[in-house]
């Protein structure tokens, strides 16, 4: 009579130091090998889409901040672009330039958190603190502009909430000069560290076809080798005026599409964001940032789907309007929600410690997974 055996079910529960929020992962493990991963969501569901139907269009903007709270400007940006497209508003040049600069600063700040927590999950606790020290510079620049460090309510429909303060250009240039050696330091400390490479190379390999079929986007998709960035494919705002490269995973340390490639894409993206900021910061035209904000936002009946390149991937807003001052339906296509589905595919056959490394490299934020 054979012994009945079953796989051990380990619950990396909602409270866990490294699941980046309240995510419950149910792992079926056999010793240390993972057989199946099932994510359970919904612990942070705050009914954003239902709230949006009860408010007016401009009142929804602070709620969009709270979706992906680490990259809040991108959320505002996408929503403002969607409603402006529906209404046919053209914003002044000054507004466009400032929006791009803020979005790129936000991209650097968000990648700093992503890289820092990726390292901290693997055990390198020191780069996490170095990166947060650098993030403080960005947050203080933004705080002087709009008053908030994390949830800004800055990009309004048709313009901005505040104009930039007189020191903005100087401080941003100082930050750009300060940040370039920091990336070099980070490369020396973490990227080419033998132990870090052992932990992340050849782990969680994502082939390109699977990635596109699952709807992956952002560094998760670009780490698999495909050169797809919304700022080039589907240019919005004034991104087509700037000259920047799209970093792509090339399998330098292992296979194409492993965790190291996704990490590497994020580091090089920060350098490219600095390039965009340097091109834009000197050419901000004069103007009034609030001139195009309509008094009453009442779009015509219709539907629109706009997407922006958030640090985590493609953030899409699908808005249906029925001609009144409240939106009829706002659907948010959150990049982390779609990227999280891949976790089940990627973790088969790896160890428990690898699940953490893979989750860190996909870089999710529970605010937008659950909305």
């Amino acid at each position: 009579m054979a012994l009945k055996t079953e796989h051990m079910v380990l619950n990396m529960g909602p409270q866990h130091p490294s699941t980046h929020g309240v995510l419950r992962l149910e792992l079926e493990i056999e010793g240390e090998l993972v057989k199946k991963v099932t994510p359970h969501l919904g612990y942070l569901h705050r009914c954003f889409e239902k709230h949006a139907e009860a408010m007016q269009y401009n009142q929804v903007v602070p709620y969009t901040d709270r979706l992906d709270y680490l990259a809040a400007i991108g959320n505002n940006f996408g929503y403002a672009l969607a409603v402006e497209k529906l209404m046919g508003i053209q914003v002044p040049e000054r507004v466009e330039y400032i929006r791009v600069i803020m979005a790129e600063l936000q991209r650097i700040a968000s990648h700093l958190v992503a890289i820092g927590s990726n390292g901290a999950d693997i055990g390198a606790l020191t780069p996490f603190l170095y990166l947060f020290r650098d993030r403080e510079h960005i947050l203080s620049i933004i705080e002087e502009t709009c008053g908030a460090r994390m949830l800004y309510n800055y990009i309004w429909i048709g313009g901005l909430s505040h104009d930039i303060h007189p020191d903005f250009v100087r401080k941003t240039k100082e930050f750009c000069n300060y940040f370039k050696p920091t990336i070099v330091e980070l490369d020396n400390l973490l990227s080419y560290n033998k132990i870090f490479i052992e932990r992340t190379a050849n782990i969680g390999v994502l082939p390109v076809d699977t990635a596109i079929n699952y709807g992956a986007s952002g560094p998760t998709l670009r780490g698999s080798g495909i050169n797809f960035d919304l700022r080039r494919e589907d240019p919005y705002s004034i991104y087509d005026r700037f000259d920047f490269e799209i970093p792509v995973g090339r399998g330098l340390m292992g296979t194409v599409g492993d965790c190291w490639d996704r990490y590497y894409v994020r580091i090089r993206e920060m350098e490219q964001s600095l390039r965009i900021i340097e091109q834009a910061i000197d050419n901000i035209p004069e103007g009034d940032v609030q001139s195009a904000i309509p008094k009453r936002i009442k779009p015509p009946k219709g539907t629109v789907y706009t997407r922006v390149e958030n640090p985590r991937g493609e953030l899409g807003y699908f808005i249906i309007s029925d001609g009144s001052v409240n939106p009829f339906r706002v659907k948010v296509r959150a990049p982390s929600f779609v990227n999280l589905e891949i976790l089940g595919e990627l973790c088969k056959g790896y160890l428990v410690a690898d699940v953490i490394a893979i989750l860190g490299s996909i870089d999710i934020v529970l605010g937008e997974v659950d909305r």
Binding site: A124, L125, L129, I195
Partner: protein
Amino acid sequence: MYQYFYDLTGNTIISTLFVAVFPLVNVLIVALIGVYLERKVSAWIQDRVGPNRTGPFGLFQTVADFVKMLQKEDATSKDIDSKLYNIAPVLVFTGSFAAYAAIPFSSKLIGSEAEVGLFYVIAISSLVVGGILMAGWSSNNKYSLLGAMRSAAQIISYEIPTAIVVLSIVMITGSLSLDKISEMQTAYFWNWHIFGGAGFGIAKFLLIPFMVVGFIIIFISTLAEVNRTPFDIPEAESELVAGYFTEYCGMKWAMFMLSEYGNMFAVSAIVSILFFGGYHSPFGYLGNSLGIEWLVPFEQAFWFLAKGWFFILIQMWLRWTLPRLRVDQLMSLCWKYLIPYAFVNLIVIGIISLL
């Protein structure tokens, strides 16, 4: 030292107590200063300040933590196996504390002058494995069980390179007693084993590179024995919350911490005795040159503590710089790399020592 107290008091029990109290005090002081220093060193490496409010420069932080831990409620879940649960911290602490019996702090301060001191130290520090497994199993918690199993595998595997390097030192010195090994490295720093050992000749210079390799191997293996990063998978904070001592709180947890710092100092002491001259000073003694004979043991104790703390600082430095290794990489490092190198080292040192 036992003899000295026996002459003083004439009573076996009191002299034994005195002899045992001294290492206990040392372990407590190491834990006290160690916790504070760890927090300060980690803060300086991470570009922060560390505790600086409790007392000047935060010096009383550990005292405050200790008082807090004393008055904590000992909350346990009802599903634990209470016999094993309560014995586990005691076993872990005993395993690391008993190793101090054979470690010489100076030429006069030795717990027991057994002839097989080194063998005893390696054997008794394996008691820790039993304690860790008990802690992991009795906590009735899957995370603790995983952490305990990983830790047991790690400690048992890394004892082998340690033992092999120790064997190569024993081959050169011909004695297992830690006291005699220290005695053979007297006078100046070029007599230390890492520079080839006492005696002058072609053998001494040939030995130097192999001694350095041996030192690196034993340093890495003892890092793994005390569960420090990069080998701290059993207590990996971001994966298993806290590994095998997740369910412990209050004084029982404090005993695990005490044993960790005690173990750190014990392995630093072993490494410094085997390779760096134990309690001997690198330059000769002030007491000898000034003619004050009774100063020499105190100087030796000072040098011994200095060397032990130096290695502890290096361990802390490594902890905050490197990420941690995964379990199978850790095992393959031990079995596929360290053990073959240690064996080759042993054979070559044996051949050279025949010259």
